[in-house]
Symmetry: C2
Subunit: 480 residues, 2 copies
């Protein structure tokens, strides 16, 4: 049950706002093992919609789904030196199975490149078997110390794509293709205006030659890495001996990629769009797109109103709208309005006896607060109006998030302005620094390179930190 009045204000304590809204909107709860989460039906339905939107994009590029085991022999992790270095500190290790101590402990997958490498080495024989384009929907485990629901939990849900190719070019093309799929999904389904770009060497995936990312700005100005696509070069091919017989009867190593987007993206949606009233879900992904709240004072009114509600519900379902009727009889309409605003349902229909007389309903949009967001519309053709309003809300939410991001992104050319800019949002700077420079900036400001955006200005500039000539700009920000 929502208690919107107890929701902390975003600008007073964004962190407390986030934790409270996640619980009050019934998205998730804490699991009994420290750092684990339970995704409740409302949060899971959002995840299912995210899955469907991504899955169709993957399949359109020829990717097929498969299921790989959660257990990996410890020895596999060690085969790729940087990979084990990156993941060893976060592993969960099973030492006992079936009442006995295992001869070889197994780890719960933190990611599946090593298992995939093992399988691809067996499966790929000749160039005719290439490319291999697989995706896994599963959960993975990283034993984190500081956790936060959806953003960083011991176990999280995601998809991990793994492909193998005959050439470096094709692997790089696939890496970018999936980055584009993520960008398209984020912008057009989630209304989250992400910046696609490349990670710096320090922020690269453990075992990748190149890592690409989509970066989003949260409501507090911090960045959230929202999906990544890795060109793994021949690192895992060499570690797992993934070779193929080519048309010249030679056995070169394959070129592989991996790419993932996780339930963390739910956090991105919450923190990109949410406000002091609670969640604000993009219509295309919202589990409930419109809620109908009936209004009546007695049984006679209830009978008439509920009959109209049933007809409207049917019309909306026929029009493909995900609709919910709030028929709880122990709660007031006002409470229900707040409750569904808290849960971020994009549109709301209110209908009472006077509306029946007037042959109209009240139609409210979640993204515009108060009276401005509410209109009385004729009952006829209501479903079409709701569909059109959902489209409007989707467009308006993307526009609002983009405007917020742009207003909090600053082009700066000196360290003082950089500190000010990264204290509240993104700094875009000409950059020619080293890894050491990047580390020093991180220590001094907590800001890191979120990405080198794909979209670059022409020409060159002066690095804000080193004063050297720079041929690219970078986005710096504090991040989750």
């Amino acid at each position: 049950m929502a208690k919107a009045d107890k929701l902390p204000k975003q600008n007073q304590d964004f962190n407390a706002w986030y934790n409270t809204v996640v619980l009050q909107a019934d998205m998730a709860d804490y699991g009994p093992v420290r750092g684990t989460m339970i995704v409740k039906p409302y949060g899971w339905a959002l995840w299912e919609n995210i899955q469907a939107a991504l899955d169709s994009r993957f399949k359109a590029t020829g990717v097929e789904n498969a299921g790989f085991p959660m257990f990996i022999p410890m020895e596999f992790l060690r085969r790729e030196a940087k990979h084990v270095e990156g993941f060893a500190p976060e592993l969960a290790v099973v030492t006992h199975g079936g009442g006995k101590e295992l001869e070889e402990p197994v780890v719960v997958r933190p990611t599946s490149e090593t298992l995939i490498g093992h399988a691809y080495s067996n499966w790929i024989q000749s160039y005719r078997d290439l490319p291999v384009l697989l995706n896994l929907w599963n959960s993975v485990v990283r034993w984190e110390l500081r956790t936060k629901i959806f953003l960083r939990t011991l176990e999280f849900y995601w998809q991990e794509g793994h492909t193998a190719h005959a050439s470096a070019e094709e692997a790089q093309e696939r890496t970018m293709m999936m980055l584009d799929a993520y960008t398209d999904f984020a912008v057009n389904e989630a209304a989250v205006p992400v910046i696609p770009g490349e990670k710096s060497e320090l922020e690269r995936f453990a075992g990748a030659d190149r890592t690409f990312t989509i970066e989003a700005m949260m409501g507090d100005g911090k960045a959230l890495q929202s999906g990544t696509s890795h060109n793994l070069g021949q690192n895992f091919s060499k570690a797992f001996d993934i070779t193929y017989l080519d048309e010249n009867n030679e056995r070169p190593y394959c070129w592989t990629t991996s790419w993932g987007l996780s339930s963390r993206f739910i956090g991105a949606i919450i923190m990109t769009h949410g406000d002091d009233k609670g969640l604000k879900l993009p219509p295309r992904l919202a589990p409930i797109q419109t809620v109908i709240v009936p209004i009546y004072r007695n049984d006679d009114e209830a009978t008439a109103v509920m009959a109209a509600v049933a007809r409207i519900e049917n019309e909306l379902k026929t029009a493909g709208v995900r609709v919910k009727v709030d028929n709880r009889d122990n709660l007031s309409p006002g409470f229900k309005f707040n409750d569904w605003e808290m849960r971020g349902v994009p549109t709301r229909i209110e209908i009472g006896p006077r509306d029946l007389e007037n042959n109209s309903v009240a139609l409210a949009r979640r993204d515009v607060p108060g009276r401005d967001g509410k209109q009385f519309v004729a009952r006829d053709g209501l479903a079409e109006k709701v569909v059109a309003l959902l489209d409007d809300v989707q467009v308006a939410m993307l526009a609002a998030a983009t405007a917020f991001r742009d207003a909090n992104t600053e082009d700066v050319d000196n360290y003082n302005d950089f500190r000010r800019a990264t204290a509240k949002g993104f700094a875009r700077v000409w950059w020619a620094g080293t890894n050491e420079d990047e580390n020093r900036i991180k220590e001094e400001t907590k800001a890191t390179i979120r990405c080198i955006p794909m979209e670059q200005p022409t020409g060159t500039g002066t690095c804000f930190f080193t004063g050297k000539s720079a041929d690219k700009v970078a986005i710096f920000a504090r991040s989750y």
Copy 2:
């Protein structure tokens, strides 16, 4: 690549046939950790179709999906005495996380009743919160010694439904409702003629008051438990303190159920329908419902044939048929026919230059071997003919499996006939034995009570084993 000629015959070595067909039809592979499996894209697509068919049935009864963590505090398992007794021998235990030994080891879920109990205890306050109807799609781990792909693996995929109710009657009603959903799914989607019934006390789920099951007969006459639905009574409510404030201001315990169907069902499909040519997949669940094999000898023919193939492919897609064109140019048509028969694709279209001239195609059904299963049909209205043929195949497969099961099920009234009947199939007997009797029969014949079928004859009979008067019949069989 299929090697149908190397497939062992079912009647010579059913077990070898099964293991070979699973690998050759590209359904699955072994994982690197002993007893784990990799479900390959073809097997996973079948699982996705199973998931969709079940999920819509669950949602139609008001069930919602959620995500629960894989880790359970060891202490939770111990709270329900029979539950821990049943599952303790099979647990995988994580003792180290994040590079340190854990203060409290956690187990990887073998099933989630305990986690659900913990959550429901927190979530359920009053009668207004009831019923709670959740389902989880996930994987669970049971550290088995003897494993077999799909049938018994360390980790397997499944759904586990968990519900909480205000009354014993409602919990029992839900238990039966989900058993009915499984039966409907098995019979009408998978063409697997299961027998719904109740388990004996010895075969009950660890922690249940009553366990119901759907039992299927495999091609070797053995039974496969294919889905179970449990009435948990108040066992888990009491262990986890799941109570609710009722309308009289009292706090009774809830009544709970759980029910699951797993990737083991893929094994049921393989072993119910498969034959010496390989898999035979029911059209409603088949990842590929029809395969088009083009036939040509030179480039000119190829151009004309492939143009017709593209048109047919489009027509079939428009008609909602899951179609695949086999355009591999290094394999003969004959090889392709065998390959797709091995993979169990229900129908096949062959088209070559002469078919173009005749304005016809060859249309073959997988369930009828040889020439009898192949007809030449006019090109016009082909999509409708394929759709109709798929319906025919679905019906014929259920009929064939039912006839096989009935031919191998015997009503017997003495132990000698019982031994003979259970050596090759199911024995249906009047039963009034004790747990000790059941155990003795198992030791002597390997046959166990698969279920007390819901459908019972009228009247009473004489127990085949004890000679006592019996008021119910039981199905005995050897089982997987």
